[in-house]
Amino acid sequence: MFDKKEVADILGIALQNGGEFADVFIEHKATNSITCEENKIEDINSGIDFGAGIRVISGMTTAYAYTNDLSLGNLKQVALTVSKAVQSQKHTLQLDLRHLKPGYHLPVEMMPEQVKIREKVEQVKLANEVARAVDGRIHQVMVGFGDVVQNILIANSEGHWVEDERVRSRFTVQTIASQGNKMQTGYESYGGFMGSELFKQRSPEDIAREASRRALLMLDAKPAPVGKMMVVMDSVAGGTMVHEACGHGLEADLVQKGVSIYAGKKGQKVASSLVTVVDDGTIPQRYGSYHFDDEGIMGQKNILIRNGILEGYMYDRMTARQDNVRPTGNGRRQSFQYRPIPRMTNTSIAPGEMDPKEIVKATSKGILVKKMGGGQVNTVNGDFVFEVSEGYLIENGEITVPVRGATLTGNGPKVLQKIDMVGNDSGFFIGTCGKDGQGVPVSASQPTMRITEMLVGGTEQ
């Protein structure tokens, strides 16, 4: 619907008062979401988000404006608004926009619109029934399904024209088990850069059973102990720790602002030599993948920490300019309403060599984390916290009783130094990561590994 010549004109207006760079981001996003609660379908919601953002960069200043009136006249008006934020030399821009093609393909088997909403509703109802059938103590079940088809067009003053289509689906089940006055929740989700093939890849029944199993297990769990102890993270635990403990601190904007504990540590040892951390936006079917980032830079596999040595940060265009490096394909925005900032995609700690069973066996006393919940980090000092949604005690190399209500508190660099065993397996989790009020889909993964000491904040009296 947009002509290259018209878009080039808009960019020309945006830069008419000067500035080194301008881009236009146009987004059309079609979403469906279905939720089930109280044994009935609670909500079926379909939506269209449609709008454009125009940005001008001049020195360290970014001017950004967005609108959802996409008439040519209005877009030119918006371009004029951002141009006024810059007052350097007047100039005219002659642009011949060139269409860039992606270097890899993220396949989607079945586009969301190929499956009727009715069939998706049936899958949601099925998960609800299965979760309840697991045990009479499951007294509340919440099932959610959502799919998104996001089409974006980016054109910039470097003459690039990029189009990308991102297709993502996600299925979640949350259950509440209760017995007497005890109440516990269980959660399981699955999703990725995929369409309705999600239902084939992992059945809603399976997700539902897992959520119920977890809630029931926690009902029988005893309160977690309090104090410093050894922690074994199972590979299926997810990747909240790598995401929180080092991912955020390696985003270049935080580094440049001096609010990251990893600032100025390039080439230094920041983790145990067993630790290699990678952020990779090119992995097929992973939730955080794309062909191009939201600034038109192709996704990349970036090694952030190699064998404990800090190799590099994650950059968008703005921060890459400041460090005089190439952007790493990590410039992301939640929607046309936001300017891009450096973000993670699919972040992982690379697998090592040990048999995961041996790691448990070698641990005389500690906590085994089988599933992590949410987390948070203070990037300035590296302190982080995350919850354990499924945990067990390890006693004399054996997994013994389940424990509930634990959170693990630590300091990113200190914890990464304390990893003394790394397994040869790998597991991942998906989620929405929030930063500066913007949420973007991400995944994180890790092998089974052992941390010699962390603070466990439990509720044991």
């Binding site: 609660e37 109280e38 009935k40 379908i41 909500d43 079926i44 919601n45 379909s46 939506g47 269209i48 988000d49 449609f50 709008g51 020195g59 360290m60 200043t61 001017a63 950004y64 404006a65 967005y66 609108t67 959802n68 009136d69 608004t81 909403i117 509703v121 007294h139 509340q140 509440i176 109440m183 929740t185 309090v226 104090g227 410093k228 602002k257 001096g258 609010v259 309403q337 300017r339 919940g373 949410g374 987390g375 948070q376 980090v377 203070n378 300035v380 000092n381 302190d383 982080f384 916290v385 995350f386 919850e387 209500g405 634990a406 959170t407 508190t409 300091n411 904040g457 439990g458 509720t459």
Partner: protein, 446 residues
Amino acid sequence: MGKDMTYAERIVEIGKEIGADNTEAYIYWHKDLSIQIRSKEVESLKSAEQRGVGIRILKDGKRGFAYTSDMREDSIKKTVQKSLDNSRENEPDEVLSFPLPAAEYPQLDLYDPEIAQIPVDRKIEIAKEIEARTLQQDKRIKQLERAVFEDREYRITIANGHGLAKSYHGSSCGAFAYAIGDLNGEQQTGFGMDYAKRFRDLNIDEVAKEAAWRATQLLGAKSQKTQKAVIVFDPYIATNFLGLVSPGLSADAVQKGRSLFAGKLNQQVASLEFSLVDDGRLPQGIVSAPFDDEGVPTSETILIDSGKLNSYLYDTYTAKKDGTVSTGNGIRGSFKGGPHVGTTNLFIKPGKISRTELLQDIKNGFYVLEVMGMHTANPISGDFSLGAAGLWIENGQLTYGVREVAIAGNILDLLQHIDGVADDLRFFGGTGSPTLRIAQMMVSGS
């Protein structure tokens, strides 16, 4: 106003034409400006204008929903149709209804014309001033991560097939500083914020003072031995904990068996010191409005009165289910979803003693300034376990900084143990609290 009401009434009409029993249009229009300063330079200037519509349809006792921000006639028609199509896949629910027009709505002064009249250049100067004043507060503040001035103008328009057709226009402005304290290379951050309905009420001096104070208190902080101590919550931390209390006060959570407060009406759920109020018509309240997001007049609801559970919050649906009337708490996150029970201006009533008096008889205590992992707390069980940082209290005085400790417990238990409420009520956006003192809790550290 004319334009949005024309859209809304047209949508209700289209719904009728294609066979809906009732159609509701909720239109949100806003215009924003946000200026972010760093090192005396404009780091970003953002301006925005957006309009979107959420369309709820009732058909054969079933509900459908769809939204669009593409306001062209063709897209709007498709969205009304999509909403009707979605209703077909839903299950019938006889409780569903849209509110009737009310006889009276509160009169509120929500719009300050001064905000729109101030030129952008002046707003840039204000943001720079926030940065400069924060830097002047303390030698240990060498830089800010950012200083922000922002404002918003908005209009909400609702129409439904019962003839309800209402609209209101408002504005707000905010100042924000995020300072970095530095002591021999060790860094801590701290924020200061103020939001106001009127430009003349915005206090940037307080923002600067607060940011500098928060960014310097934890410099040099160390962990603390595990021990029992009296806990004091800074107002900001107390509002964080309200996020754990408020979900259980929604009638929706009660009806779905997801509330900590189910079946406890008229019971003592908190200490005598504690009263909690939701007031959607609070003068100068940042989220005050004449009606909620489905068109029901807002009201003041005393939720907890001196510890006694007095009421839940209701929207039209949950009220009908309980045979009562809506409290005007049908809230939408945005035009992209239907209304759900939510809070408006939610605050803990201030007490009669000053903060100094609240602290003075504490021999050994922990004044909590930061918590981490609040979103991991469980609003259904009420269990929380948080990383915390703050100041140690000795003989009534705030002394040295403490970090890398954890506090854990259950919110119901905590409410029963609030034994002091100061008179310093403060709002952080739509939630407010004074300083709170809680009888002993375990602080886990080294």
